[in-house]
């Protein structure tokens, strides 16, 4: 079996975080009664005309800037024509040539290897409504129709399922960071289509590709692409050729299945939409938008590593979402021990958030709490161990840590005269271990520390315990 190489390109659709739709003033909102948020424009009534939401242009341009694209000073809307009941005008308004952004790239790291993925283009388009299939009838809800989207099309530069998922994660982080989308994949705010082909390693020609539609989680992207690569390898091994087609991922069975073949492909008859003048982006506007861009996740991660001395893992955890990184920096303003704050956040706070399914910004335990807890450890008032033990309760109650530990009597014992007695007790109770230690088994130190901790109910200052133990054991 020859070694194959996968060639993958992603088309990512992101719903823009605007308060109104792309071509009318209807609100973008989910969960309302069907067809509540519609007007003559987004319902495709006769005579209605579109007018462009300027905020959507700004968000698309910012996405382009964040993904190192050229933002075109002039781009055009085109009509993409096809019939479907959830498409009220009989065409989607999208961009063909030129799109608003082109020629960008994104660096993606998988297992310490960083590769640059080219971004062909980003274009603006409107979303369709949805069909609700019921018993004997299909109903149509146009609440989503006309919502603004950007489609980000990558070059076929991705080489593995893992890389595809990593690319999607990076896109997600960037778009959420700049406020272009809420990134809610469960609600479909961010989804992608994957174009997958394989070829013998070393070959420079492209194999026949299939397109997997509507992947709506990082996990599904990875699983679907993995499956599709294996399926295509299987086809070639069996001497079959790969059929150019559109496929769907069945998340339950973890397989992709054929949806329609190339022969059924539409001729979309794109042409410039005569109702919409060219989209102009002025140099001054673009400059202003660029100035408004926040620090992007990758740059922030590097800064956390280089300037604050965090390790890769901590920095990655803290910058995966902008809100988390903001939270971290708020805490940092109140407690300057970055490493301590980072460890607390990574080990305790984010874990708890994930377990309780609470967004960091929504937690009752805020940045000031984290900072105070870190300070308590720094000051030797409590140990990291105590911090860990009490964290779930602090997180749930939102109590201020200093008051909490005082009230509960958890303040660490740092009085050496008090601890000296406990150390002497422990040594007296464990003569065999003392002999062992003195005979060279210095690893037994942690045993003694544990014993002291048990007797003090964890409140002993560990550093002090260590030094007292070493001192006592060293006598003779």
């Amino acid at each position: 079996m020859p070694a194959y190489e996968a060639v993958i390109g992603l088309e990512v659709h992101a719903q823009l975080l605007t308060s109104s739709k792309l071509f009318c003033s209807c609100p973008v909102r989910f969960g309302d009664e069907p067809n509540e948020n519609i007007c003559e424009v987004c319902a495709g009534m006769p005579g209605a005309l579109p007018r462009l939401n300027k905020k959507a242009v700004e968000l698309a341009a910012k996405a382009g800037l964040a993904l190192q694209c050229t933002v075109n000073p002039m781009s055009l809307f085109s009509r993409k024509n096809y019939f479907y009941p959830d498409l009220p005008a009989g065409f989607q308004t999208s961009q063909l040539t030129p799109p608003i952004c082109e020629h960008g790239h994104l660096d993606v790291t998988v297992q310490d290897a960083t590769r640059r993925i080219g971004i062909t283009r980003i274009h603006l388009e409107d979303d369709a409504g949805k069909c609700v299939h019921g018993q004997g009838a299909t109903l149509i809800d146009l609440n989503r129709a006309g919502t603004g989207l950007i489609e980000i099309v990558s070059e076929p530069d991705i080489r593995s399922a893992e890389e595809a998922a990593a690319y999607m994660r990076a896109i997600h982080a960037i778009l959420v960071c700049i406020g272009a989308t809420d990134g809610n994949m469960e609600e479909g705010s961010l989804r992608c289509d994957a174009n997958v082909s394989i070829r013998p390693k070393g070959s420079t020609t492209l194999g026949t590709r299939t397109e997997i539609k509507n992947l709506n989680s990082f996990r599904n992207i990875q699983r679907a692409v993995e499956f599709e690569i294996r399926r295509q390898e299987g086809c070639l091994e069996d001497g079959e050729s790969i059929v150019q087609e559109t496929r769907l991922f069945d998340a339950v069975k973890q397989v992709t299945v054929s949806m329609r073949s190339k022969e059924d492909a539409h001729d979309y008859r794109y042409f410039p939409n005569p109702d919409l003048p060219p989209v102009l982006v002025l140099a001054e506007e673009l400059q202003a938008w660029e100035a408004e861009l926040p620090e992007l996740p990758e740059a922030r991660k590097l800064r956390f590593i280089q300037r604050l001395g965090l390790n890769e893992e901590e920095a990655a955890a803290l910058t995966a979402e902008r809100a988390t990184a903001d939270f971290f920096e708020q805490a940092l303003a109140l407690c300057s021990n970055a490493k301590r704050v980072a460890q607390l956040m990574a080990a305790e706070f984010l874990r708890e958030c994930a377990q309780q399914n609470i967004a960091p910004a929504q937690a009752a335990f805020g940045a000031a709490h984290v900072a105070e807890l870190a300070t308590l450890i720094d000051e030797g008032i409590i140990s990291a161990r105590i911090a860990h033990d009490i964290f779930p309760e602090l997180f749930a109650s939102g109590a201020m840590p200093r008051a909490f530990v005082t009230e509960k009597g958890l303040v660490q014992v740092s009085d050496s005269s008090e601890l000296e007695g406990v150390v002497a007790e422990v040594l007296a109770e464990n003569p065999a271990e003392v002999e062992g230690y003195r005979g060279g088994k210095t690893k037994l130190l942690s045993f003694f520390v544990g014993q002291v901790m048990r007797k003090t109910k964890g409140k002993a200052n560990p550093a002090l315990v260590n030094s007292l133990l070493e001192e006592s054991l060293g006598k003779h």
Partner: protein, 488 residues
């Protein structure tokens, strides 16, 4: 002199002086509609009740704010959306369709105090030049009921000539205001593309469609234009200009210092003798008013018909895609799958001419044909605009016939669409260029005794100057008198 034969400005003056009332004017127009409709079929919906209510309401309020159209009965082409009356586009597809909103120009009419008395007949979705392709049946020409009124705004033109209203709003995509105005002997004005909002005008070809006024005089048209023109944020192609002051147009009485260009290509070949003669006398009238006349050429005009039918049909094919039977309009019964429902609904809902243009438009946008047809036509369109701009750099206005022939017999060209398309050559160049044009009566044809129209074409957004020149020319042209094909 019966009320219904007055001009809009005369009626306005009579209202101001208390010589008549909004209800009297409205009742007169409704009576005139009742008397002439059996012959004309110019109206799809007559608004007897709402019009009389509105007139009474306006009458009760008086006119303290000097509304420019206070108490004036008007009609609108039945492709302009109205909340209070069906908007059918003369198509079975939209029979009885109630739009949920008023078109921008309808809002403007209402705000100006106008009384809408009827929605007028047209070629289905404005595709045609004889008002014969209407699901409501053809409209007849008030000068000879055996003949067409022109189109597509044929109902508006026929109704104005017959005294059904004092003004009307039509739409001009390839000549649909100017040509029926010419064939019925009234005045029709197609403004510069973008001067009047298209919001709420059911689209035929978006980059060509232009709403404009029709009336019995140039001054009446200008008055209506002053009401409907100006920026509308709901139409992204609307020009950011305020509503114009039309007083300078009404005050222009002479063509002294003006240069008129006689467009060679529009006078060559195909004109009937009587049309050529009447239009030639209009050129002489312009000279008599002081205009200097020069010959001018628009070399790319020979491609205008082909260019127009490629581009306009392409736009139409997608503009009409929304009529799919899903949300409103006709839905074919008895179909059990989606494609079957689409196919049957559109087959039953659209007439032959609409289907022809949808097919043509779909073809020229199809993969493999786009470059050869759509793209090429878009290039020719730019060249033609340059021709017009060069000509209007040398001339203040261009002058030409509107239709090569006077009104033809109903049914005469029904099976010959190409002949009809070719006759549009005199009008549709202007739509390709997006420029303003006004058609006014040049006289009655010597042979047929039917109205002949002449058009003036002007510079972009210089509409008021163009209307002024038309006003001055009108003064030197013969009055047509009363149409002979309808009850007096």
């Amino acid at each position: 002199m019966p009320l219904h034969t007055r001009t809009l400005l005369e009626a306005k003056a009579m209202l101001a002086q208390g010589e008549t009332t909004p209800t009297a004017l409205t009742a007169a127009c409704l009576a005139r509609i009742a008397a002439t409709e059996p012959v004309l079929n110019a109206c799809i919906t007559v608004l007897e009740e709402t019009a009389m209510q509105r007139a009474a309401q306006l009458e009760a309020q008086g006119n303290p704010n000097n509304l420019p159209l206070w108490g004036i009965p008007v009609t609108v082409k039945d492709l302009l959306c109205t909340k209070d009356a069906p908007t059918t586009c003369a198509s079975a597809m939209l029979a009885g369709f109630m739009a949920p909103y008023d078109a921008f120009v309808v809002e403007r009419l209402r705000e100006a105090g106008a009384v809408i008395v009827a929605k007028t007949n047209l070629d289905e979705f404005a595709m045609g030049s004889g008002t014969e392709s209407s699901a409501h049946g053809p409209t007849c020409n008030p000068w000879d009921a055996q003949r067409v009124p022109g189109g597509s705004s044929g109902g508006s033109a026929a109704g104005l000539a017959a005294g059904q209203a004092f003004g009307s709003l039509g739409s001009d995509t390839g000549g649909s205001i100017r040509q029926p105005a010419a064939l019925c002997g009234c005045v029709g004005f197609k403004p510069t593309y973008g001067y009047v909002s298209r919001y709420g005008a059911v689209a035929y070809a978006s980059s060509f469609d232009q709403i404009g006024p029709m009336a019995r005089t140039v001054a009446d048209c200008a008055t209506l234009f002053g009401v409907i023109a100006g920026y509308d944020g709901r139409d992204a192609t609307s020009a950011q200009l305020p509503a114009p002051d039309v007083a300078p147009a009404l005050a222009t009485k002479s063509l002294q210092g003006k240069t008129f260009g006689v467009v060679k290509e529009l006078w060559e070949g195909g004109l009937s003798d009587e049309v050529a003669a009447a239009c030639q006398s209009a050129v002489e009238a312009a000279k008599a008013q002081g205009a200097k006349v020069v010959e001018i050429s628009l070399p790319h005009l020979q491609y205008a018909v082909a260019t127009y039918y490629v581009l306009a049909s392409a736009e139409a094919s997608t503009n009409l895609a929304r009529f799919d039977g899903v949300r409103y309009g006709l839905r074919a019964q008895g179909e059990h799958d989606l494609v079957g429902m689409y196919t049957a609904s559109r087959s039953q809902g659209f007439g032959e001419e609409v289907k022809r243009r949808i097919l043509l438009g779909t073809h020229v946008l199809s993969s493999g044909y786009y470059d050869a047809y759509f793209q090429k036509a878009a290039k020719v369109r730019r060249l033609l605009l340059q021709d017009f701009q060069a000509a209007l750099g040398q001339c203040d206005a261009l002058i030409a016939p509107v239709s090569p022939v006077t009104a033809w017999k109903k049914g005469e060209h029904v099976n010959d669409p190409l002949t009809l398309y070719k006759m549009d050559m005199l009008t549709l160049g202007l739509n390709l260029a997006g420029l303003p044009g006004v058609s006014l009566p040049a006289g009655l044809g010597a042979a047929s005794g039917l109205p002949v129209g002449v058009q003036l074409m002007g510079r972009a957004f210089d509409d008021i100057a163009l209307l002024g020149m038309a006003n001055a020319l009108e003064m030197a042209l013969p009055r047509l008198g009363v149409p002979t094909g309808i009850p007096a």
